[in-house]
Symmetry: C2
Subunit: 344 residues, 2 copies
């Protein structure tokens, strides 16, 4: 249908080889014929067919992105950043999330073995043996996000949940709270485990005992935070926590919801902190003290590393990088308001 290289060649009275050479700026071409070809191509709105080119060069200029889900600010920010960087390097993004029906493996295989992409960025809850085999046996490079698998075949980027959790726990301790509760994330979840470890070790490092009753498990949802909060509030006053560390902001927001119903005030009645630094935590009152996730940085670095790998920097393979988190102090922890009107 659309114009191809033969048509250009015909109109310019040259061979397709010559046309290809000028279009790709490769090999010597007489300036005058170069001009001619360029002009005709422009006039005809010529665009090389990407399939044909890929078939021949084995390059697609496409990056595969596989994410566990496509909900939340988290993934939107990540995609946003991936898109920015990809665009900067002239790459396109083939995005997919894990689905119940078509599992990750299928998608990964289609992307990799089907030759749809030049490389792949994966964030998957579980990278099983089968997937690892696919990744290992494919020449196309891989960047793994927040994954906890052997990775001598891939670049791996992680977020430092552990130290983030320690720092926010430390912050609570510095406020003088001693009975600190934690609402954990779901067991088995990578992020949840690290945050939990960080909390425990910081408590221990400060000689604070952790009352087992003050450790609840949630599932990262608003709802589970809401109920965990209710349970904690119902303890008798000798045990009731002075502060609660929710393993993510969403659960902390569940507590906000309950607090409104019960007329409980943060931080006067009880202090709460979260983890993730989602937008809503900035807006609620009082502002939610939390830990910032370096999502943009994760997006940027993963894309940059992948592109370098694609360009052949093999010495990067096996590289691991841990991105640090940052404490975001607002008011729910007991600090006084640290923003001015207008500072929004």
């Amino acid at each position: 249908m659309s114009v191809n290289i033969h048509e250009i060649a015909r109109r310019c009275n040259v061979s397709i080889a010559t046309v290809s050479r000028v279009l790709n700026n490769k090999g010597p071409v007489k300036p005058s014929t170069r001009e001619k070809v360029l002009q005709v191509a422009r006039e005809m709105n010529y665009r090389p067919n990407s399939s044909a080119r890929s078939l021949s060069t084995r390059k697609t200029d496409t990056i595969g992105v596989i994410l566990p889900e496509l909900v939340d600010e988290f993934f939107m920010s990540l995609i946003h950043e991936l898109d920015e960087v990809a665009h900067k390097y002239g790459k396109y993004l083939l995005i997919s999330s894990s689905h119940s029906s078509r599992n990750d493996m299928e998608t990964i295989y289609e992307f990799m073995a089907g030759g749809r992409v030049d490389g792949i960025i994966i964030m998957a809850p579980k990278i099983n043996k089968q997937i690892q085999n696919i990744l290992k046996n494919n020449i196309r490079p891989v960047v793994l996000l927040n994954c906890d698998v052997p990775h001598n075949y891939a670049v791996r980027i992680k977020i430092d949940n552990y130290h983030g959790a320690r720092s926010v726990t430390k912050h609570l301790i510095e406020h003088g709270y001693k009975r600190i509760a934690m609402v954990k994330g779901p067991s088995g979840n990578q992020d949840a485990e690290s945050r939990w470890n960080g909390f425990m070790q910081e408590m221990e490092a400060n000689g604070l005992a952790v009352n087992e009753k003050l450790i609840l498990e949630g599932d990262f949802t608003l709802r589970s935070g809401y109920y965990a909060f209710l349970r904690l509030l119902n303890m008798d006053s000798t045990e009731k926590p002075e502060a609660i560390f929710f393993a993510n902001d969403m659960m902390a927001l569940g507590a906000y919801h309950a607090a409104h119903v019960l007329k409980i005030k943060f931080p006067e009645d009880i202090a709460v902190v979260g983890f993730d630094d989602i937008f809503t935590g900035r807006i609620v009152h009082p502002g939610l003290t939390t830990v910032h996730m370096p999502i943009s940085e994760m997006g940027r670095k993963s894309m940059e590393y992948l592109i370098k790998l694609i360009e052949g920097e093999e010495e990067l393979i096996g590289h691991e990088e841990v991105l640090s988190t940052g404490l975001v102090i607002r008011e729910s922890c007991g600090c006084t308001q640290n923003w001015l009107p207008g500072d929004i």
Copy 2:
């Protein structure tokens, strides 16, 4: 590098034509050779090369998605839904947002003329003549989202901002408010204009005069809502509005921010409503009354239409569909709490 059809053919002692036939379930093949081929293909983990296949069939099984930006719940929900439906039909998603450096036209052209996709879903603030020409002159089908251009070459799906605005305005009027202010979105913006029209017409239909001073223009950001709110509050009591309709939730949330600083209570001191139904509006206290955008529906329908177009249902071309919005009543308008503890 990876195994190809020749290798399969060689091992099965058949021609590549036969292999191709069984792989595509096309043409007659003796059951026993079919079995053999299938087995060998499985053993070798064979996967057809997508570029080669596309080059030959002119199909990519890929859908191009071009969005104005990749931030906000709005786009995340949209992408989420597109991904769901695409996956259901075995399609892949090539996603790009508008960029300053590479404009939409470039991307669209690369997707369409470069043969990277079978069809395209576009949501772009401005579809200029040049882009329209590209779309019109390409055989590949197009679905336009919330666009206001002639579209006899594309399916177009819009959201009914106008009636959404009327219904939320009506709701305020039914509460007995007479001096109702509106903080508009940026002029020139499609959604902003429709919402503004809806507001004006509903006011008029109820015989309510609109004081020009009560009409402010924002730019859909938190910040602009914050300042608009401050300005409205500073009016003298004879003019000061009893209720404010913010053209989107984000601006309404700016008002929440200011309200906390100034110790102003919604809806006791002043009622506020928004538009969009973003997550944060559910969490803040009091809950923000707003208008729900049928984003998932938009995503689902646009993908389904596009796939039908790709499959050749030409009679759909030119079809336009307007999706209705829905009033979401919470408490910021003056209604009493309509959710129970635990109902989150």
